[in-house]
């Protein structure tokens, strides 16, 4: 299924299973992400969303199945967080993406510093590039915020913006957003969604993970709904209205309740 010509998929998961002992966390997952597609991956707590994230970012391998990144098959024996970075997969976590007491320019380059002789940091260059990312890549509009500001001065939405901008700068082909809007006010959620638009405009792919369609509906091209370790639906946005998707998810939740009660 892998051809030599330019692959239209940023990522493909084929028949992926994950068992923890006898417990099945993921069953026969088949899904793909187009090279400039925004996927809204929706599922309740414990549905298997974070298991998928951990497999994709190299935290642990699946029990069975295959993973292709930009058409190249991943060897799970040699796959880890650093490898995922080098393949162009970057993750933006809800709360562990930035060092809070540190200034922004350090946060952009932490772990990937621009260094001169003996490992000393080229501060001038890092600040220049960081400032360029803030203005051009993520279109930062925060009042009075510069590369010398500390992260603790930023709002929750702005922090996610910095993490997204960083991921885009480091040539991410696929950005995983792991519940980036949990505990944010509506105004801040708005900011994060604007940053996600930038990913689309930049020609990159994104998996936006959420347990709530409120924020994913607008920015997603396609919704993938996962329930108890299985993908139960994959719906293009043009095929479903916000209201129908709401109802679909609601019915699903009710259906699940019925099943539990049986």
């Amino acid at each position: 299924m892998v051809e030599d010509y330019a692959n239209p998929y940023a990522l493909q998961m084929v028949n992926v299973d994950k068992y923890f002992g006898a417990v099945c966390a993921l069953k026969n997952i088949n899904f793909e992400v187009g090279s400039n597609e925004i996927i809204g991956l929706i599922g309740d707590n414990g549905a298997g969303k974070s298991t998928i994230v951990k497999i994709l970012t190299g935290v642990f391998p699946p029990t069975g199945g295959e993973l292709y990144i930009a058409g190249r098959k991943v060897n799970f024996n040699r796959y880890n967080v650093q490898k995922a970075h080098s393949y162009g997969i970057e993750t933006v976590y809800q709360d562990k993406s930035l060092g809070e007491k540190q200034v922004l320019w350090r946060n952009f380059f932490i772990g990937r510093e621009i260094t001169g002789p003996f490992g000393f940091i080229n501060v001038k260059k890092e600040k220049e590039i960081a400032s360029e990312i803030m203005v051009n890549t993520i279109g930062f509009r925060g009042k009075g915020i510069t590369v010398d500001s500390k992260v603790s001065k930023l709002s929750g939405g702005e922090r996610q913006g910095v993490a997204i901008g960083r991921a885009m700068h480091f040539k991410a082909e696929l950005i995983l957003l792991d519940e980036p809007t949990v505990a944010l006010s509506l105004k801040e959620v708005r900011k994060v969604l604007d940053f996600v638009h930038r990913i689309k405009e930049g020609g990159k792919a994104c998996i936006y993970i959420s347990h709530d369609i409120q924020d994913v509906y607008e920015i997603s091209d396609r919704f993938v709904i996962i329930d108890r370790g299985e993908i139960v639906a994959s719906i293009l946005k043009e095929d479903i209205t916000r209201k129908d998707l709401d109802n679909f998810l609601l019915e699903y939740a009710h259906g699940m309740k019925d099943r539990i009660e049986e």
Partner: protein
């Protein structure tokens, strides 16, 4: 008004400025209260002899605390490194013996630090516990090896090592003061301009963030404690070579003053940010405090209370006009000077935002 704002903003960015202020005020006070002592150079020379070991230890500890860890074992390393140097100096009859002793003492310190690092980063023992145990263990070993005896090293005075590290430059300035300053500059660059220092700040801030951003947290912690061990050994050597004697309990009594110097300097107890320059001034405050207070002639009953008061004042001043707050002050001043019209507009837009929420 605008001028005032920018001046405050610039002052707020100068590292360690509030602590330097405290140091200056303290010395001005001493000059007035004990003029016979503090208007003559002798006391300053004596501080430049006694403060460097505290400073050197404080610099190392600044890195450790920045990374969110603590090291209580350095007093024992001060003793162990002194012993290694003294033993080789006494037992090897060669021109290079002092240099070999110096080098091996540094290696011994680094080794103790490396073992601390393994215990903390690999085994997972909390650093306060690991280094406390390490302090007991290495003091014990040192006393055992030295047979509980002190070693006289009067002949050290005739060696090049003595001249290089604790000689008097132009017959006046103690060389160890220059070494202390040089180490301050070097470690400032390590902490603020090197990727190792940046890794320390992020680990102290949040080790999970450091990990997911690709920093090898375990290796960095081991390296940190190894460096701390070598630095502590260097402090021990400065002490031993200056006083020309090794005694197996040397280093005891350094623990709390060194920690005080670091915290007075403005390094965060919670980790994530450290001030090397602050530690420089903090060490000189701590190192000159007792002598200064005694010289003022207050009765000895008062000495400790006065010392405690000055320490508390120094830390409080740092918190009140520290970096963030001083620039915060300039922001407030800036807001006052802006026209009330703009302020009103902002209030209106803020209200709109709230309404949207």
């Amino acid at each position: 008004m605008k001028q005032q704002k920018s001046v405050l903003a610039i002052l707020g960015r100068i590292e360690g400025l509030p602590v330097l202020g405290v140091l200056v005020i303290m010395f001005v006070a001493f000059i007035f209260t004990a003029p016979t002592v503090f208007t003559r150079p002798l006391i300053y020379m004596s501080f430049m002899q006694t403060v460097p070991p505290v400073l050197v230890l404080g610099l190392g500890l600044t890195l450790v605390i920045t990374a969110g860890e603590i090291d209580l074992s350095f007093p024992a390393i001060v003793a162990l490194s002194g012993f290694v140097f003294a033993y080789i100096f006494k037992n090897v009859d060669a021109a290079w013996a002092p240099w070999a002793g110096f080098g091996l003492a540094l290696v011994a310190g680094a080794l103790v630090g490396y073992l601390n690092g393994l215990l903390i980063a690999r085994v997972g023992v909390p650093s306060i516990m690991a280094t406390l145990a390490s302090q007991f263990f290495w003091y014990g070993i040192t006393i055992l090896l030295a047979g509980g005896l002190q070693l006289n090293l009067r002949e050290v005075e005739d060696t090049v090592v003595h001249t290089v590290f604790t000689g008097r430059i132009f017959g006046v300035v103690p060389a160890q003061a220059i070494w202390g300053l040089a180490l301050t500059v070097f470690l400032w660059f390590v902490l603020n301009r090197h990727k190792f220092g940046e890794a320390l700040m992020f680990i102290g801030d949040n080790p999970n963030v450091a990990q997911v951003m690709g920093i090898n947290v375990e290796a960095t912690r081991i390296k940190l404690f190894t460096v701390m061990g070598a630095i502590a050994a260097f402090a021990g050597l400065l002490l031993t070579i200056e006083i020309n004697v090794f005694f197996p309990t040397q280093g005891q009594g350094f623990l709390l003053p060194v920690m005080a110097a670091v915290f007075i300097g403005g390094t965060l107890i919670s980790g994530g940010l450290g001030s090397v320059v602050g530690t420089l001034w903090g060490a000189y405050i701590i190192g000159s405090l007792q002598a200064g207070v005694v010289a003022t002639g207050v009765t000895s009953y008062w000495v400790q209370s006065v010392m405690g008061f000055i320490m508390a004042a120094a830390v409080a001043l740092n918190v009140v006009i520290g970096e963030g707050n001083l620039s915060g002050l300039s922001e407030i001043l800036g807001r006052w000077t802006r026209s009330s019209q703009i302020a009103a507009q902002e209030r209106a837009s803020d209200m709109n935002d709230t309404a949207l929420e």
